[in-house]
Point group: C2
Chain length 666, copies 2
Amino acid sequence: MIEKFVLGKPFETFATVERLTPSEGEIPFFTTIDKGFFYKLSDNDIVYGLGEQVGGINKRGKKYISRNSDNPHHQEDTLSLYGAHNFLIISGEELFGVFFDYPGFMEFDIGYTNRDELTITAENMDMDVYIITGNSERDIVKQFRKLIGKSYIPPKWAFGYGQSRWGYKCEEDIREVARRYRENNIPLDSIYLDIDYMEDYKDFTVNKEAFPDLKGLCEDMKKEGIRLVPIIDAGVKIEKGYSVYEEGVEKGYFCTDREGNPFIAAVWPGRVHFPDFLDPKAREWFGDKYSVLLDMGIEGFWNDMNEPAIFYSEKRLNEVLERINELGKKNMGISEFFEFTGIVNGLSNNEGDYDEFFHNVGEKSVPHCRLHNLYGFNMTKAAGEAFERLSPDKRILMFSRSSYIGAHRYGGIWQGDNKSWWSHLLMNMQMTASLNMVGFLYTGADTGGFGCDTTEELMLRWLQLSVFMPLMRNHSALGTREQELYRFRNCEDCKKMIEIRYGLIPYLYSEFMKAATNDDMMFRPLGFDFKDEAARNTEDQVLLGSELMLAPVCTRNAKGRYVYLPEEMLLIRMRSLEDYDCEPLPKGHHYVKADLKELIFFIRKGKAIPVGKSAKNTESLDSDHLSLLGYEGAEYELYEDDGISRNVMGSIRKIKNKPYCRMTTS
Amino acid sequence: MIEKFVLGKPFETFATVERLTPSEGEIPFFTTIDKGFFYKLSDNDIVYGLGEQVGGINKRGKKYISRNSDNPHHQEDTLSLYGAHNFLIISGEELFGVFFDYPGFMEFDIGYTNRDELTITAENMDMDVYIITGNSERDIVKQFRKLIGKSYIPPKWAFGYGQSRWGYKCEEDIREVARRYRENNIPLDSIYLDIDYMEDYKDFTVNKEAFPDLKGLCEDMKKEGIRLVPIIDAGVKIEKGYSVYEEGVEKGYFCTDREGNPFIAAVWPGRVHFPDFLDPKAREWFGDKYSVLLDMGIEGFWNDMNEPAIFYSEKRLNEVLERINELGKKNMGISEFFEFTGIVNGLSNNEGDYDEFFHNVGEKSVPHCRLHNLYGFNMTKAAGEAFERLSPDKRILMFSRSSYIGAHRYGGIWQGDNKSWWSHLLMNMQMTASLNMVGFLYTGADTGGFGCDTTEELMLRWLQLSVFMPLMRNHSALGTREQELYRFRNCEDCKKMIEIRYGLIPYLYSEFMKAATNDDMMFRPLGFDFKDEAARNTEDQVLLGSELMLAPVCTRNAKGRYVYLPEEMLLIRMRSLEDYDCEPLPKGHHYVKADLKELIFFIRKGKAIPVGKSAKNTESLDSDHLSLLGYEGAEYELYEDDGISRNVMGSIRKIKNKPYCRMTTS
């Protein structure tokens, strides 16, 4: 059951799609405190949720702030990432979910200041609060997901492996990536275009020198079975003669400053204005621009920098330069020095800048900070709505960096700029389960890590998680070690993981589609299905569908890892699609060996999954000849459709051939 | 066996105390490459060593640079910490140790660029290389330790619990800490004085307003059984009339710039000069200054900021301000903006500044960068040598932030400014074992974490490791959550951990002294004693002495953890000195429950440890009435001495009363 409570005068976020009649009276479970809510935690309560946040599956023992932030350096004590997803499930003494539909900044102190206290505060109390009760965590999620609407479904090719790098400078770089993947017989479905394909980082333009014929390139790549996926950034470059800029100014589609002029910030293109995506007309206008690239044969995009990230605002930069000038005149002391470095480091993504610009909402001008967390959502919505108009029959790939609940209806998200860190590999898995709760099914992290130099070992281990992620993209930053798979000495090991991915795509797509069409989760914490203490407290394993449990190796130099089995399962140790062992393991704690070249995962008792052969890309997959891997006698219901049409009336096919697993004899 | 190879013209570091006759011919094991050395790693080789570095017990799969750095924000990909310890043991196909006695910057690529390649490079090849072969890792360490000389031994009271915080502003703050610890009956041996006790951060001065009578305070505290431990920083404030400054200038004891004038950097006091600790006369002069505080009754010190940390150098700051002025004149574009923030962020600890000052070594002027890693060592040496002169009978506590091998003869080190992060708790344990290899026995990390806000849970779990660390200090940074133990709601839980510490001090002191006098390790990786694959690859457990195995809980919200037992051991689950269980566990992998209030550790087969009662401080401990905890029939040889005299002719007492462990029945 979902009860809705309306506090004050909430801003309409469009996070939900069902219109509930608000309940009168007190919000259950919580005590209302000044600008917030309080809940007393019991010793064994687990707090799930918050979508994209650093902090594990159980969110206790940490503080979090919903304030979408461009934070590529996130680490253990980071308070905010790129998305804001104010949904929690408290599971223990009581069981309920709660969604605070509030687009401003909000703080969650989950047993942080005091171990047994959950305190949630916001800048004001204008919000809708939804309390969801149900007979299980999963039931609560499903009710909630029905409330917020069906999740975005990408084309099936988006389940293929993609290669990306900030640093591909020209057409030849792209062709080289394609060529070398094909030369090495590594499957590949997509190559991403980061900011350098644009002319001076201007949205919807192409650098004609570097990419003289993007349309032709696009066609050539498609012949190779590879799709190009360009980036679109939020900020529109201020440049006389640039049509997007000029139209936006003329029609008043940009966010404005206190004086009513378009607000000036700086990001990659230098000075930019921010489209007012909260304004439906601006959204439609911006969305239509994607046709420039769609018309070239592009079928997918990623929206970036849409927290929005601000390197600096014109006004603040001038103030800072002025102050530095003053400070520099006298002999700078230590406190002046710290002021100096402090104001310089405070220039980027300064919260104060979010007070300085305004959205045109209905007849009102609303300061950005009041609805900050909606910005990326509405940029994605602009794209998603446009694709429905511009490509009514064919699904278009769309994922975004920034998000709010509701954005999941229009696109997926990648988990933002991360690092080549082992801790970020673990976080990738943990976050995916939390994101599934709030509707983001099409998601994944930059495999191998975006910032910092990766290693072959980290890449292999990360691939062993990413083979299961809907979005499987290898992406890295300018200046870091190149990490296209063919660059590694033992490229063959990486290739086998990609081939395993392609063998699993029929299953993964099927599970994705079942979750998407049933408002269900593809990835779940163990505690959602198993109620024993050990399962509830497992932080480094997740369930996939009804069939699998994932337990990737997330540490350096490991020869294996500990795994908790909440029931008997089949351990699969896979070196390639042809070379693997199966070993039934009883319920309990196990140390499982996992050589660097071995993908390990578990098939749940009585279950089996379909596995096919690899292919050079998704379209070439042969889904007619699938074998079952798993328990003797198990069946699997495979969801299938054309992978293209928006009308997702797929069919279910029962697969019940004899499982092809080889039992180990030891 | 140790072989010494002299390459080029090494700088005399005084890392070693034995003078070996250099071998002629090729360095074994390694291939010499341009400016470095190469070794081919086998799949199962483990690389131990490097002392204070981020990267676990097995150092493979990462890159490291020996370049002492003030880096309080260190994380997974950090290359350098506060110390430089160029010692490795390669254990696998072959077994040998190597020490590169080289005080400049040096890089270790340990299977990072390529998994099977160890590449070590330096800026030049003027160095002594020692190759150590032996019949075990521990044997190699013992030979190496004999080469580098006996480890520093602190007074016994330094094994008590200490409270510190950057932020105690005045006498009353110190008295309050003492009062509240005593009121709560929490044992305490020391309170640390961070930079605020000084007048304007000037070494060897006291802020007379805040601390009108430090000598009196020191006496009052000693009546309470508490010692004060002040900080000493490397930089000497430039201030007319300040005697340390004026003498240093007059006598030429400061490092000089290219023009031969004292080099100007800025740290806490603002503009400072750096004493030239490489000059024996300067060392003696600076060392004698500690008498100012010794004469007030102070018996311990910590040396800080001695990498040396540089907030900025006068010259670079002026250049940066000038450049900002230029950049600010035109409309700053994105590349100018990144240049602007880049040069500002490059001001602190800029490597280029280390080229800009010089040491007076013999008759020569040597650029600092050539011997950078010796600076902290020689500051510690200045103190250590002075204490031998000024306090010939009584040990003085000394530990430093920066270090090089050799410094271990003059003082301990704390593990530098860390964070209230779970990953830093694990690192604390891993680093301690690595530091023991290179002679740093008196060590520990800031319990609860220095930077960021701690939580009660993290503090409790960290205490459960720190109870075993020779240096057990709770320390935190200005602006972070106050973390004196009495500030937590469940202060009683923390108190019990401190009481356990005091019950263990007889054992810990005994093990420390045995290790110090026998050139042995107090903490060892499991792979040093056990040769099976699982033991060799265990990263989150260490052995303590011959009796214990530590396996602290290092993750949030954990109800227990996995532990590998390389042989049968006794699991001790201790809630207080009076309330504990013992459970024998067989060799193998186990999941061990550990409630937040439970300290878990393991007693090795056939062993027992002495446990006493708690006391308000170390001096009040009753070491005549110790019980044995462990296996039936086991004995323990307790090392004892007065804990004060420099002459460490202690005695061994056999303890063989009946072990008092209660076996659990389940």
